[in-house]
Amino acid sequence: MSKVLVDTSKCTACRGCQSACKNWNQLPAELTRFTGSYENPPAFLPYTWCRVTFNEYMEGGAVKWYFAKLQCMHCAEPACMNICPEGAISRTFLGSVTRDWDKCVGCGKCGEVCPHQVPKVSSLKKMMKCDFCYDRTSAGEPPACVATCPSGALTFGDDTSILAAASARASQIGGTVYGEDNLFVYVLLRNKSDYKIEPGPLNPGSGPGGGGPGGGGGPKPKDAGAQGAGGNEDAGGGNADEDTKGGVKKQAAAG
């Protein structure tokens, strides 16, 4: 099985992945507005399957800026698949989570329970999200986001090598690994919620009880600080000092 390593410590937020996704999948652009953050669009949308979050924090008096490329995680235990009343969501031989166009009725239940707030229903009443570039990955090619990444933040490879690389990199930089059981594996320098990773389901009550990833590294949705889809800590004038946020160990400013 293949996975993608997202090494956030190498991500420069150029957002080549975000536009490469739209390009390869021929998704129309959203009409957005600059609202005080580089991050745009501020949430997943029917035609925005990949986006980069911008997360600005003060650490010991010094500003830091963290980026994370988000998309469908292709969870080990997909809440969306479990709840879909039409059986329209399934797992491919690649391990990716996919939606059957003909079966999907656009009820949106998947979007309510996804801890990553990924599935969105289009005006055609179909759920839309990242499909792991099935047309590419099924032919052994990396997803479009990985293929375009200039900085080396994204790597496509077999699961053994990706997990080994994630573990080695995390120990090199004093970070953590998130999502080992998913197809997208992250190396992080702060808590996942600080990157807006796994904000929790939009409607936690609608899940069949425990839709979150069940793997070893998969935190429960309720662990994450719930934020609205537009929740945006970047560039906030009122950010002040975020030292207490997330509980990670902070480094000294001049470290």
Binding site: T12, A29, F34, P150, Q172, A235, G236, G237
Partner: protein
């Protein structure tokens, strides 16, 4: 770049200054990230603003815009005070030991160097001492008070950590951490690279900003080595190629200087004054390059009897003909017609309001681009009545880079062939087709109707076929060939000054050396001698496929590599082994001989110049304030570079309460230059939809501005309204607030917005006239 992109992986320390590499040169981070992960490279970012590049930095040092000389000067002092320089390198490979005229001096009380005549520097005291035979007097011990090394020490004695902090706003401990970290690369075997871009160059002393980086790198022995260098990252895909091809007004292709009216009246004058004095440096061959160029251009018409048509080249008359000067002449009605060819100065030019007005004065404008630019659409810009503008505008649709064939030269001097992917749409044509048709039709008019001085047009060697021109013929002409046999050259060593060789651009000689599979089309990404990252069989790097220039400096005088694990050339006791193309007479030439000329192009010294008399405003870089600055110069008593070029008087004075903040302009990843390509791409507009202005939380609080509010930013020259981005990524520096803004927007295309250059000024660098886009005074207020 002295080095190249891949070579970043070899650095122990990388310092980006005046460069937002992650945002504006994304691929660079592939190699910087690799150096960090594989080598434990320390990544330093020096920038007024905490950028996406700074986000990945190990050390981030904030500096006030325009204070780079103070910052680097402070590092130079730190290196000298603590003996952290590479002594053998400095003594042997630089002009440190040269004695300078005792009349040379710098006076901090006045801010002037010696030899100021009230209007300019005569430079009479900026000369080396010579003995009776005309040889430069040197002191190999570097102790003579008049030697360059001691003068350098004296000059930067004022640049103490406290002074650096006062001038730049960088906290002293941060500055010292940078100084200590970067100075560590002076250790033999270590490599430190410096990369820069327009944050360094776009100042009234931009050339001196570049110079001081060179001085530091020479002291630390970082020039000519893998992982070192002074690396100019070019802001456009082929801007390297455009300067190589002589797009600057003072240069012919291949950096051959334009002849001057008067002093270069004849070809022999040019040779006597511009070529012979440079011996024994390699520039002593400049006449071969120039005459071969004239043969390429004028063919059989160029003969020894007519100075090879030397008189067909325009001569500089002392008038500034840089961008701002041309616009000012346009504004004054002296320039009647203009071509804006892939050039959108209505957005990208400084003081854009005036540049737009200048277009109103033209009789005609030809705009050649892939979309209708703001420059092409100036006559219908907001606030003007098209019926009052008499300029006739011709808009020629151009093919974009994927719709035509040809080469680009990247920052690492690699010339790479790119193939056409698709046909251009509609009536769009390649630039080559447009140039070819223009030339043929203009020549036809001269032939049929005559005109003033028709000879250079009628006698031009111009035959690239019909229809779409044969680009291989153009490439071969640039490469150079033997006129009698037509055979293509592999090296500019074959060029002659007798009219038997032709070459359009001598530094490109060898890039298109065969019709079948020329060097610029090579794509071997497996051959990498020693894992050095040189990849010599991928494309072609000028000159002569040399990947790291000045590479003799990668070895000590005896020919032993400073870093034996990463050698690119070395002496094995009887001959030179080379992984890179040597930048010196290699073969069996003894190291003691080659060590005499490690910088073969620098004539006549052939050694790195810590002291450079060629600069307009001083042989050592000295800190001056930007033309508009909120503070007085703390390092000397002269506020501005006395040699800067300026038009108009619309500037804010020091301490002007109406304009108390510094403003700086820059680019973002998502848009490119004046935005005419990217603002017509909906996917990119989605990412960066609007013009915005970045300010600190302290300035926002003082001005009651919230994130996302509409604000007006004003200067003496104009005002614009944009969305505020309130962020901790900008901080006041010694109490001075900095306003940052991208300059991508204008009134054409799909995403429109105000142009930052409505605020900038017509003032520029003393040596190059590059505009000072990076520091000027502004005010800000909330408007909605």
């Amino acid at each position: 770049m002295t080095n190249h992109w891949i070579d970043y992986k070899n650095s122990d320390v990388i310092m980006c200054i005046g460069l937002n590499t992650a945002e504006n040169h994304p691929i660079s981070m592939k190699w910087i990230n690799r150096a960090r992960e594989d080598n434990g490279c320390t990544f330093i970012v020096v920038d007024p603003r905490f950028t996406r590049t700074a986000a990945l930095a190990d050390i981030y040092a904030p500096v006030r815009p325009g204070t780079d000389i103070a910052f680097i000067g402070g590092i130079i002092k730190y290196v000298l005070d603590n003996n952290l320089y590479n002594e053998a390198y400095v003594a042997n490979y630089t002009n440190a030991s040269y004695l300078v005229d005792p009349g040379y001096d710098f006076d901090p009380d006045t801010g002037f160097f010696s030899s100021w005549d009230g209007a300019k520097y005569t430079k009479s005291s900026w000369v080396y001492q010579k003995d009776g035979s005309g040889n430069v007097i040197k002191d190999p011990t570097l102790t003579d008070p008049n030697c360059v090394f001691q003068l350098l020490k004296d000059h930067y004695a004022r640049y103490t950590p406290a002074m650096v902090s006062t001038v730049t706003g960088c906290p002293q401990d941060t500055f010292l951490e940078v100084a200590q970290t970067f100075a560590s690369t002076g250790t033999v075997g270590k490599a430190g690279g410096i990369s820069y871009a327009m944050g360094i160059t776009q100042h009234t002393y931009g050339s001196q900003n570049c110079r001081i980086l060179c001085v530091l790198q020479l002291l630390l022995g970082n020039m000519g080595i893998p992982g070192g260098g002074v690396n100019a990252q070019r802001g456009e895909a082929n801007v390297q190629g455009s300067t190589d091809m002589g797009m600057l007004f003072h240069l012919l292709p291949g950096y051959v200087g334009m002849p001057q009216q008067g002093s270069h009246a004849t070809l022999q004058d040019y040779v006597d004054k511009e070529v012979t004095p440079l011996a024994p440096s390699y520039w002593m061959n400049k006449d071969k390059f120039l005459i071969s160029m004239l043969k390429a251009w004028f063919g059989d018409y160029a003969t020894a009897d007519n100075e090879f048509c030397y008189q067909y080249i325009p001569k500089l008359d002392g008038t500034n003909r840089s961008h701002m000067a041309i616009i000012e002449k346009m504004h004054a009605g002296e320039v009647k017609g203009a071509f804006a060819w892939g050039q959108n100065f209505a957005v990208g030019g400084p003081k854009a309001g005036r540049e737009r007005e200048a277009l109103d004065k033209l009789d005609w404008l030809v705009a050649i681009d892939i979309f209708e630019t703001e420059t092409a659409a100036f006559w219908k810009r907001p606030g003007v009545n098209p019926s009052s503008i008499n300029t006739e505008v011709f808009l020629l649709p151009a093919a974009n880079s994927y719709e035509k064939e040809g080469t680009i030269a990247n920052s690492g001097r690699w010339i790479q062939w790119r193939y056409q992917a698709v046909e251009p749409p509609g009536q769009a044509k390649s630039d080559l087709w447009i140039a070819d048709e223009l030339f043929k039709r203009i020549r036809g008019l001269y032939a049929s109707e005559g005109g003033a001085f028709p000879d250079p047009i009628l006698e031009m060697n111009w035959d690239y076929g019909t229809g779409e021109p044969d680009i291989a013929q153009v490439a071969a002409e640039i490469n150079g060939y033997d006129i009698a046999s037509g055979s293509l050259f592999t090296s500019f060593g074959s060029l002659k000054n007798d009219g038997t060789t032709a070459c359009g651009c001598w530094i490109y000689c060898g890039y298109y050396e065969s019709w079948g599979n020329p060097a610029c089309k090579r794509r071997d990404f497996t051959t990498d001698p020693g894992g050095t990252g040189l990849f010599p069989s991928w494309a072609f790097a000028w000159p002569l496929n040399r990947r790291i220039i000045y590479n003799r400096c990668s070895c000590d005088p005896a020919g032993n590599p400073w870093n034996p694990d990463l050698w690119i050339v070395r002496w094995n006791g009887s001959s030179w082994e080379t992984r890179d193309v040597p930048d010196f007479g290699a073969g069996t030439t003894a190291p003691s001989v080659t060590a005499q000329a490690p910088f073969i192009m620098l004539g006549p010294e052939r050694q790195g110049r810590l002291f450079a008399a060629g600069m307009a405003e001083g042989p050592f870089p000295e800190h001056y304030e930007p033309k508009e600055s909120p503070v007085s110069n703390a390092l000397n008593n002269l506020q501005n570079n006395p040699c800067l070029v300026v038009w108009g008087s619309d500037f804010a004075a020091v301490g002007d309460p109406n304009y108390p903040y510094i403003c700086s302009t820059y680019r973002v990843s998502e848009h490119w230059q004046s935005g005419i390509m990217t603002r017509n791409c909906p996917w990119l507009n989605e990412l960066m939809p609007n013009m915005f202005v970045e300010i600190s939380t302290t300035l926002a609080s003082a001005k009651c501005i919230s994130n996302g509010d509409m604000v007006e930013v004003s200067t003496v020259r104009g005002a614009i309204t944009a969305i505020a981005c309130v962020t901790n990524r900008l901080q006041p520096l010694n109490g001075v607030e900095v306003i940052g803004m991208p300059w991508h927007w204008g009134y054409a295309g799909m995403s429109q917005g105000p142009s930052a250059n409505m605020l900038t000024a017509h003032v520029g660098d003393a040596n190059t006239s590059i505009p000072e886009y990076k520091a000027f005074l502004a005010n800000i207020r909330k408007v909605g």
